[in-house]
């Protein structure tokens, strides 16, 4: 069973604010799922290579050239930002 403190730590790492009551509920929920997936420790995976992707494709690479996105799309992407100055995303100052 995860403790409230552990849930707090995970939420902080995940950048999620949780209410006090939610912490309890999430501790319960996460513990039950983690308990379930722990059954994997019984599987014999000796000498098995991990499978990372959905297919066994080799890496596909392209030339590292700059391709401009069309101006209309660019405008729309920037317009979606909640706070900006010119073409920059604006965030609270991160230096004291």
């Amino acid at each position: 069973m995860l403790t409230g403190k552990e849930v707090e730590k995970i939420a902080e790492l995940a950048r999620l604010e949780l209410g006090e009551k939610e912490k309890e509920k999430f501790a319960e929920d996460l513990s039950s799922v983690i308990g379930y997936v722990q059954k994997l420790s019984e599987a014999n995976v000796e000498k098995v290579e991990p499978m990372a992707g959905g297919t066994d494709l080799e890496n596909i690479v392209r030339k590292d050239d700059v391709e401009n996105c069309d101006p209309e799309t660019r405008k729309k992407i920037l317009a979606a930002a909640p706070s900006r100055e010119g073409d920059y995303f604006k965030v609270p100052s991160i230096l004291e």
Partner: protein, 484 residues
């Protein structure tokens, strides 16, 4: 005319023969949606002006006597995690409640090339996380077959829209069963193609190594038609594959040459006896018609769901990290009430309020699994099990042409039945997740009803044998329909 059961091929014929115009057809569907969708809630948004304009364009071409593509002028519905330029794409999350897509997903571009008519965006579980649409931030969708019951999920809105007759076909996405399970619960056809067959560019990513877009339709032919239109390699998705696909429409498959495997592990504890009866009956009919039926073993099935609930949340936590309240989506950055002076607080508040409970649950699970000290015990081990699951299937497909099973262990359940216990909800994916772990194509077609509710029959094919799988599914569909 009643258009509820109208298929793509039938609609195409009506248009070509000028028995109806695309504009009339489109209006007809909007009429149905307005009349009945208050109750069902399949749609999150409609695009009437754009749809009517697209329809009229096709009508003008038909009037000139030009030949039209198979999907031209035919109304469809799109899951709300697929981007349509200029339209809202909320993924059923408060996080993206006001997000307008700045570009078209590749599948949408391809549908536009065919001059398809896009009616609107369909409801889903938030960010495609769920098996019932109860996780939508905008209220659940109801199953058109029985309004007390869930339509399945996460593509529940798309499946409900097809079943209710709000469109001819729909697009969904499938990460662990999200096309097949709602199709099964609603009694329609849902096809999840091989991973890499269809570009995921413009699909709001949930778990990138498992996600795949696919069609939800009224029959197998229509699933093949939509698949043909939207598949193909794309420079914006490096996992999409270049391939010459065989022709679906040439001669049908010879049933006597088909060998179908029945996995022992899929017919054990947890499977509802009436659902099992329905699936067994379908298998028997196929055998009677000449298909060879053999028992097979997929020994690592036992671990599939556990491995899935490690890999999927791990990818979720990484993919949803982009929603930070800075670039787009729900944000507390300008909220003076809190006077957020600190970047960290902007993240905490924006994400804490923007994401629903299930999204937060999975983000935290993934964060935990990937954190230092746990990574190897969980994530690496799950990836190894993933390889073993794939090897199980590889071994099976050396012997059989397709694998047959139920889609879900039960019929559609009632609202609220599983929401209190996330694990019980997760268990409803038990027969579908292995397919995504192995990247295989699989399709859900209606079998005989149980408890007067639809039962989905799942057929699984080998990697990139999508066309062969569709042909086998077509054969099964014909046989099941004939003998009911």
């Amino acid at each position: 005319m009643n258009f509820k059961n109208l298929t793509i091929k039938e609609a195409h014929k009506l248009l070509e023969n000028r028995e109806i115009t695309s504009a009339e057809l489109t209006e007809e569907f909007f009429g149905e949606i307005k009349k009945r969708d208050k109750e069902i809630n399949a749609f999150l948004s409609l695009a009437e002006n754009e749809a009517m304009a697209a329809a009229k364009k096709v009508d003008a071409r038909i009037a000139k006597g030009e030949p039209i593509e198979l999907l031209a002028g035919i109304p469809s519905a799109i899951k709300d995690n697929i981007l349509i330029r200029g339209a809202k794409a909320t993924a059923a999350s408060k996080m993206l409640e006001n997000y307008i897509a700045p570009y078209d997903a590749t599948v949408i571009e391809k549908l536009r090339e065919e001059e398809a008519v896009l009616l609107g965006k369909t409801n889903m579980d938030e960010f495609a996380m769920g098996s019932s649409t109860e996780n939508s931030a905008f209220g659940p969708t109801k199953n058109p077959v029985d309004l007390q019951r869930v339509p399945g999920g996460s593509s529940g809105g798309s499946a409900a829209a097809v079943k209710a007759g709000f469109c001819v076909y729909a697009l969904g996405s499938d990460t662990g069963g999200s096309i097949r399970q709602p199709a099964g619960f609603c009694g329609v056809v849902g096809f999840k193609p091989t991973y890499g067959a269809i570009s995921r560019h413009g699909l709001i990513a949930m778990a990138a190594s498992l996600d795949q877009i696919g069609p939800i339709t009224k029959n197998v032919d229509d699933a093949a038609a939509v698949f043909e239109a939207i598949r193909g390699n794309d420079k914006f998705d490096s996992t999409s594959v270049k391939k010459d696909w065989p022709d679906y429409w040439n001669e049908p498959i010879d049933i006597e040459e088909i060998k179908i495997g029945v996995p022992r592990e899929y017919f054990t504890h947890g499977l509802d006896s009436e659902v099992e009866k329905s699936v067994r009956e379908a298998i028997l009919k196929l055998e009677k018609e000449g298909a060879k039926i053999v028992d097979i073993d997929l020994p690592y099935s036992e671990w599939a769901l556990a491995a899935y609930y490690i890999i999927m949340p791990a990818e979720v936590s990484a993919n949803l990290a982009r929603l930070d309240g800075i670039r787009y989506g729900y944000s507390k950055i300008k909220n003076s009430e809190f006077g957020l002076q600190n970047l960290f607080d902007v993240y905490l508040k924006s994400r804490g309020e923007g994401f629903g409970a299930e999204a937060r649950r999975r983000i935290m699970l993934g964060t935990y699994i990937l954190s230092a000290g746990y990574y190897d015990a969980y994530y690496t081990r799950a990836q190894k099990v993933r390889r073993l699951i794939k090897q199980d299937f590889d071994r099976a497909f050396r012997e059989v042409d397709a694998i047959i099973s139920p889609v879900s262990p039960t019929v559609a359940f009632k609202f609220g039945e599983k929401t209190h216990d996330p694990l019980s909800m997760y268990l409803s994916d038990i027969y579908t997740v292995s397919v995504n772990m192995a990247g295989l194509p699989a399709i859900s077609i209606p079998a005989k009803e149980a408890y007067n509710l639809p039962v989905g029959l799942q057929l699984i094919g080998d990697s990139f044998e999508d066309i062969k799988l569709l042909k086998i599914a077509k054969m099964a569909e014909t046989i099941i329909k004939e003998k009911i």
